[in-house]
Symmetry: C2
Subunit: 143 residues, 2 copies
DNA sequence: TATTGTTATACTCTATAACTATA
DNA sequence: TATAGTTATAGAGTATAACAATA
């Protein structure tokens, strides 16, 4: 039996990611945010970060790139930054009330996006997909 | 039995796509190209496009964005553009010898990337993953 | 008028290098 | 000297709007 003629996996993954990313970005934009802002907000909400380096790593960007986004978020009134009295090199990033409101709006959009994405997938399908995606991440992880 | 506590699918997908995209972009850069250049070259190689609008659609970008990349590719000597005598509005895009060489170099890099990505996945796993990804694309496809 | 493609312009995300402040 | 973060600068990719050429 010949192997089925299939698209390269990378092509399939890239096409899927592009489509899903665009849909998600549109949903976040409609809710008044963006992907990096969402990732930063959710990181700030769910875990207390010791410093910005950790935050940048959680979001998957460089420190200077994080500063860039934090500047915009501070201008927009979503966060405040103040020095840690215990170690004045560290800048403590905190959500304002507006930041919290934006977080909830973006979360709603994200939940809706996820519901749409999962539509028609059984629990078993979802578990299998999560397993396979994790495997792909291992495969491309830098040595 | 409680539902297993799982990451939102969108988060998993986005993380996987980011990691895989980065690895792929690095591989293409090392081979002297980039993702849009690769997508354009493979589209030109595999199918004769009637016009640039079709080419842009195949690559998943806007016409003006395609022009931007074609300009760079023409400057780099990878392609030539000339008007179609039959319909002088249409610009025929053709690969040069250098474009062909670059195509083969990028294809080698892409094949190697895909081999790495698929490492440890059975044929059944790959087919299942392709099926699930196709489903996700349908789910986010604009109505 | 409609179609094909280009030009002009700008925005977002990202990154590296050099710098400041603090320890 | 080392660490935390910012500033300055740049580059890639993308997009929209206005335009030119052709039918």
């Amino acid at each position: 039996m010949p192997k089925p003629d299939r698209q390269p996996l990378g092509v399939d993954l890239a096409r899927t990611a592009k489509a899903a990313t665009r849909a998600f970005d549109d949903a976040l934009a409609a809710a008044g945010g963006s992907r990096p802002v969402w990732l930063i907000l959710i990181s700030l909400k769910t875990r207390a970060m010791a410093n910005q380096r950790e935050l940048a790593e959680a979001v998957g960007i460089q420190g200077a790139t994080l500063t860039h986004h934090l500047n915009a978020m501070e201008s927009a009134g979503l966060i405040t930054r103040r020095r840690d009295p215990a170690n004045r090199r560290v800048h403590l990033v905190e959500l304002t009330a507006a930041g919290d409101t934006t977080f909830h709006a973006l979360r709603t959009a994200a939940v809706e996006h996820d519901r749409r994405l999962r539509d028609g997938l059984s629990d078993a399908d979802q578990a299998e997909l999560a397993r396979l995606l994790a495997r792909l991440r291992e495969n491309v992880a830098p040595a």
